[in-house]
């Protein structure tokens, strides 16, 4: 990769990280399309790289939340064990899919997430309207 691309990656991470933190959403939903569209990564590599960013981020986040007493372990532990099973199944299925098919499935997933965020935007605007 050229130096300009490396700098761009760090800057995109900066933007995505700020937005994700401010909205309380994960970064993966931004990392995957950025890598796939702007950097022309294969869909599979975009997803694998996104996971490699999410893992350390989530570890840091867990430490912070655990210290603040916001992790309910009796629920978190079965969730995590089941999450490993689901994660392996999901990732194995992703590997069997053709790159262009996986990309289109991801596009549908993004539109569903966009609909959810649009609903939240409308709710926020209404809340402001009623408080004015």
């Amino acid at each position: 990769m050229a130096v300009i691309q490396l700098v761009l990656l760090a800057l995109i991470g900066l933007g995505a990280g700020s937005l994700a933190a401010a909205l309380g959403t994960g970064g993966g939903i931004i990392f995957v399309p950025v890598l796939a569209v702007l950097f022309a990564f294969d869909q599979h590599v975009a997803q694998g790289t996104s996971l490699a960013v999410i893992l350390p981020t989530a570890i840091v986040g867990t430490i912070g939340h655990a210290r603040a007493g916001r992790v309910r372990w009796p629920v978190a532990i079965p969730l995590a064990i089941a999450g490993v099973v689901g994660g392996v199944i999901g990732a194995r299925i992703a590997l069997t899919l053709d790159d262009s098919l996986l990309r289109r499935l991801f596009a549908v997933f993004l539109i569903v997430m966009a609909a959810r965020m649009a609903w939240r935007t409308v709710a926020l605007v209404r809340m402001r309207g009623s408080s004015d």
């Binding site: 760090a10 990280g17 994960g26 995590a80 999450g83």
Partner: protein, 117 residues
């Protein structure tokens, strides 16, 4: 017992979505904990992040085993995202949340359409 079963069901679903799409699975866990187990938003966020560690580690192991990870790109994104998360608490507070949510919606639509084409 019932709660453990519900938690396990949420975990499998979140893991599946997270593994299939290379995201953490928080999109499934947070609303499910709030709706099904009556968690507060704060506890849902905290508990969900612990699940994301498990989901992303499991899915990453599968994809990395297939050579589908660009470690240099991941390192740079991580460095940028960590700094961004820190800065967000300082300057994004001044931007109204509905503007951020609206901008994010638009970003997702554009990315979704572009990926489909």
């Amino acid at each position: 017992m019932v709660r453990t079963f519900i938690a396990a069901s949420i975990g499998v679903t979140a893991g599946f979505i997270g593994g299939l799409f290379g995201v953490g699975g928080g999109v499934v866990v947070v609303p499910a904990l709030v709706m099904l187990l009556r968690f507060s938003q704060y506890e849902a966020a905290g508990t969900s992040i612990a699940t994301i560690v498990a989901v992303s580690a499991a899915a990453l192991a599968v994809l990395a085993g297939n050579g589908d990870v660009d470690w240099l790109a991941a390192l740079l994104l991580f460095a940028g995202a960590g700094t961004g998360a820190f800065l967000a608490t300082r300057w994004l507070d001044r931007v109204p949340e509905h503007v951020l949510a609206g901008a994010f919606t638009l970003l997702l639509v554009v990315a979704g359409v572009r990926l489909w084409l």
